[in-house]
């Protein structure tokens, strides 16, 4: 997530700005909660239905702890921390797109025609969003003084824009087709939506205000992204722990309809 200089290891907590203290609290809370989420995922055998999301949880838990260690251990330099961020960004983006695809497949599994059309549309939308992300990278370059950081911010923002766009596509496709969401699929997608949209928003601002020095402005941005990340982890926990809703009364019969005839007629157009 956000860029952290390793300077805080030299500062006692009492000398921290309030805003810096706040994002540290949010960061530690998130890092502490991710292994809990992973334990719940494993205990509930969630990996059988959502293996990619389970892998995403595992990676996030591992990366979260690794960054805390790297931040506070004198054995790791700022450069190594930055390299870790790049690796995390690449892995998390790859698995994140896999999670969106997994939710799409799980959601449309019972509708063969929609599944095929959805997969094709998913590929085309991915290409279009990548083009949009590249256009945004060209129109809105980072002002960070440190070139690798500037490139990292723009690439990360581009990848998160693609993920946010894919989630919008997924939700709008299902909303149009009126395919009802199962609560766990919805929870996974919503949690990821909160995470990546906060990432895009945070990086859009951060890339313009970054002077290479941590200050109150960058602290506020980090509070926002860390708060959103913590929120996503809570959303995932709540939806995984909650049982599937079955509130609807089951009707004894169904109304008559002529949908098959309509499908035959409309099929002629294609």
């Amino acid at each position: 997530m956000g860029y952290r200089e390793k300077r805080y290891i030299l500062c006692p907590v009492v000398h921290m700005r309030f805003t810096a203290l706040l994002w540290h609290i949010l960061w530690f809370a998130r890092v502490a909660l991710l292994p809990v989420l992973l334990a719940v995922v494993l205990r509930r055998k969630f990996y059988q239905r959502f293996p990619v999301f389970s892998a995403y949880t595992g990676w996030s838990a591992f990366a979260g702890i690794a960054f805390v260690v790297m931040n506070y251990s004198p054995a790791f330099s700022g450069k190594q921390y930055f390299e870790g961020m790049v690796i995390d960004s690449v892995v998390a983006t790859g698995i994140g797109i896999g999670v969106i695809y997994e939710v799409l497949r799980a959601h449309l599994r019972s509708h063969a025609a929609l599944d095929a059309a959805g997969k094709t549309a998913f590929r085309w939308v991915s290409v279009l969003l990548l083009a949009l992300g590249i256009l945004l990278a060209w129109l809105l370059p980072s002002r960070a003084p440190y070139m690798p950081m500037s490139m990292y911010q723009v690439l990360q923002r581009t990848m998160e824009t693609v993920q946010a766009g894919l989630l919008l596509f997924l939700f709008s496709y299902c909303a149009y087709l009126r395919v009802p969401w199962r609560s766990q699929e919805f929870g996974i997608a919503l949690g990821l939506g909160i995470l990546v949209s906060a990432g895009v928003a945070g990086l859009a601002i951060r890339s313009q205000i970054d002077t290479g020095v941590l200050n109150v402005s960058t602290d506020i941005q980090t509070i926002f992204t860390e708060g959103a990340y913590l929120g996503s982890v809570c959303v995932w926990l709540i939806y995984i722990l909650a049982a599937e809703e079955t509130k609807e009364p089951i009707p004894r019969s169904l109304p008559k309809h002529d949908l098959e005839s309509w499908n035959q007629e409309l099929g002629r157009f294609l």
Partner: protein, 172 residues
């Protein structure tokens, strides 16, 4: 900086939009009273390639274009109505899929599949009809497909099977 602020605001709006799309719209229409009858025969007539050809041959070009636009606009309304009906049926069928009676559960699964297929077809067909409105001379249904369809309905009629399409072919 302005573009960055716009991008940030758009990004912040994403989660509420996702919630609205998943929860807000889906539960808006579920009453069986909201199903509107749609005349399938009238729709068939509107998209009949032979009818279109007849009008093209017998009407002045300007009149044909105007009438063809009206016909296609009406066809869009028919499809939109059928699409809305499919949404209502889908909501009624969704809980029935969990029925303990296998026949009801199976019928519900079939109905859901038909309803989402219809909505997908409508998504793909309506833009084609709008293109047809802009370019009224261009056939909306590919001729080869229409021919094949006619051929199929004739075969079905020969086999003595009754389908809505076969009924229409026999009446014609």
């Amino acid at each position: 900086m302005t573009l960055a602020i716009i991008l940030a605001l758009l990004a912040v709006a994403v989660p509420p939009v996702l919630i609205w799309m998943a929860k807000g719209r889906i539960w808006s229409s579920r009453s069986v009273e909201r199903i509107q009858p749609v005349d399938l025969e009238a729709f068939r007539n509107l998209i009949d390639p032979e009818e279109e050809e007849f009008l093209r041959v017998n009407l002045p070009a300007a009149d044909f274009r105007k009438i063809q636009r009206e016909r296609l606009r009406a066809a869009v309304e028919y499809i939109s109505c059928a699409r809305d009906n499919a949404a209502v049926l889908l909501h009624l069928a969704e809980p029935a899929r969990r029925s303990t009676e296998p026949a009801v559960a199976e019928a519900a699964a079939r109905l859901i599949n038909d309803a989402v297929s219809l909505r997908l077809y409508a998504l793909l067909v309506i833009p084609k009809l709008y293109v047809g409105m802009v370019l009224p001379g261009r056939p909306v249904i590919p001729v080869r497909v229409a021919d094949r369809y006619e051929q199929l309905t004739r075969q079905v009629a020969r086999l003595g099977l009754r389908t809505p399409a076969a009924d229409a072919a026999m009446q014609a």
